[in-house]
């Protein structure tokens, strides 16, 4: 477990978290390379299905990063995303994968520091949870 490096998928809104990631870079802030960013036009674009597919294909953790409440470029995409993340968490608990592997976070485009801290915190949290339980089956399937 000591050398476990989690794979994290971060769905980042173009108008906030993605720009915040850029800001983190400009500020020369370090954040774990475990985080794989997928840029989306709005966090509201993310559906439960995207979250589940990421986990099914081997991600150890997923988070959706949207704008601060009230700041969504498309009015309320971030609120919708938060509800979908909550639904995904419930479903993952139901099937024993664990809802803790999924999170919703919010930030503004200028919060480079929060982006780096969130990436670090979530990576550490998933590292503590251990590998996604479907990974063994996935490895076997890929071998065959």
């Amino acid at each position: 477990m000591g050398d476990f490096e989690p794979v994290i998928v971060a769905f980042c809104c173009h108008y906030c978290a993605y720009t915040a990631a850029d800001m983190a870079g400009s500020m020369r802030l370090n954040y774990p390379s475990n985080v794989n960013i997928v840029r989306v036009p709005c966090s509201g674009k993310i559906d439960v299905k995207h979250i589940l597919r990421a986990l099914q294909n081997g991600a150890d953790g997923v988070y959706v990063a949207g704008c601060l409440e009230g700041d969504c470029h498309f009015k309320n995409g971030n609120v919708k995303a938060a509800r979908r993340v909550a639904y995904a968490k419930k479903l993952l608990d139901e099937i024993g994968i664990g809802g803790d592997r999924v999170e919703m976070v919010t930030m503004s485009a200028g919060m480079g520091e929060r982006f780096a801290r969130t990436a670090t915190d979530i990576t550490e949290k998933i590292r503590a949870l251990g590998p996604n339980p479907v990974k063994n089956a996935l490895a076997k399937k890929r071998q065959s």
Binding site: K49, R53, E94, I95, G96, P133, N136, A137
Partner: protein, 222 residues
């Protein structure tokens, strides 16, 4: 629309555990609108089932198909291409769709992934409420377009009953007294006199009490 909700995952997992190849079939009609069994929900359930079984060390091949309508034979026929590659069919349609598949593909077990609930309407995004019980003898024309059969807890024909308090039903403060709604509506329409008419006892033979029902349109039936 016909409304439905997904069964608990454990119940669906019980259906699929003995098998390794399933045909997961959604429906583009009512269950898509009530977000229970459309293409999106098929994808979510497919991912959920596969992950649950992978965790148990098993693999599950899922073929995802969403038909235009599962309650019509011509659409159900489209499954013929996939049927041989599946051990079972898991349907995400209402009970009508599940039965249509069972009728057509007699050699394959069919399981429902949804619990069919009621005929209802969207109150707002994400909330559906019962509106019709299909009694077979519509009386909305005399009740101001509001149904006492589907929306009164007692299905009372000449209400309200003594359990109506400040416009709410005695079963819950979240449930409107439908007879209050009917009265308010008739008043707004200036048709209060209609409220005074006593409705005769309903003939329930046109409803389920007359046994399973069928419509035959001779001008259309072949």
């Amino acid at each position: 629309m016909i409304t439905a909700e997904r069964k608990p995952m454990e119940e669906i997992l019980e259906f699929v555990r003995p098998y390794s190849r399933i045909l997961l079939v959604g429906c583009n009609e009512c269950v898509t609108v009530c977000a229970a069994g459309g293409r999106k929900e098929v994808g979510i359930l497919s991912a959920g089932l596969q992950m649950a079984l992978m965790k148990e060390g098993k693999t599950l091949d899922v073929k995802e198909v969403t038909l235009e309508r599962q309650c019509d034979p011509e659409y159900v026929e489209e499954l013929v291409t996939y049927i041989d590659q599946a051990d079972i069919i898991l349907s995400m349609a209402c009970g009508c769709g599940v039965q249509e598949i069972a009728r057509r593909y007699k050699e394959k077990p069919v399981y429902p992934a949804l619990n069919t609930k009621f005929m209802g309407a969207s109150e707002r995004q994400g909330i559906w409420a019962e509106r019709c019980q299909g009694c077979g003898d519509c009386l909305l024309g005399i009740t101001g377009g509001i149904c006492p059969i589907a929306r009164c807890s007692k299905r009372i024909m000449n209400g309200p009953c003594g359990g109506s308090t400040q416009g709410k039903c005695e079963i819950s403060s979240d449930v409107d007294c439908v007879w209050q709604l009917i009265w308010d509506r008739l008043k707004a329409l200036g048709m209060e006199n209609r409220y005074e008419d006593i409705m005769a006892a309903k003939d329930w033979r046109s409803s389920r009490d007359g046994g399973p029902r069928k419509i035959i349109r001779e001008d259309l039936a072949e």
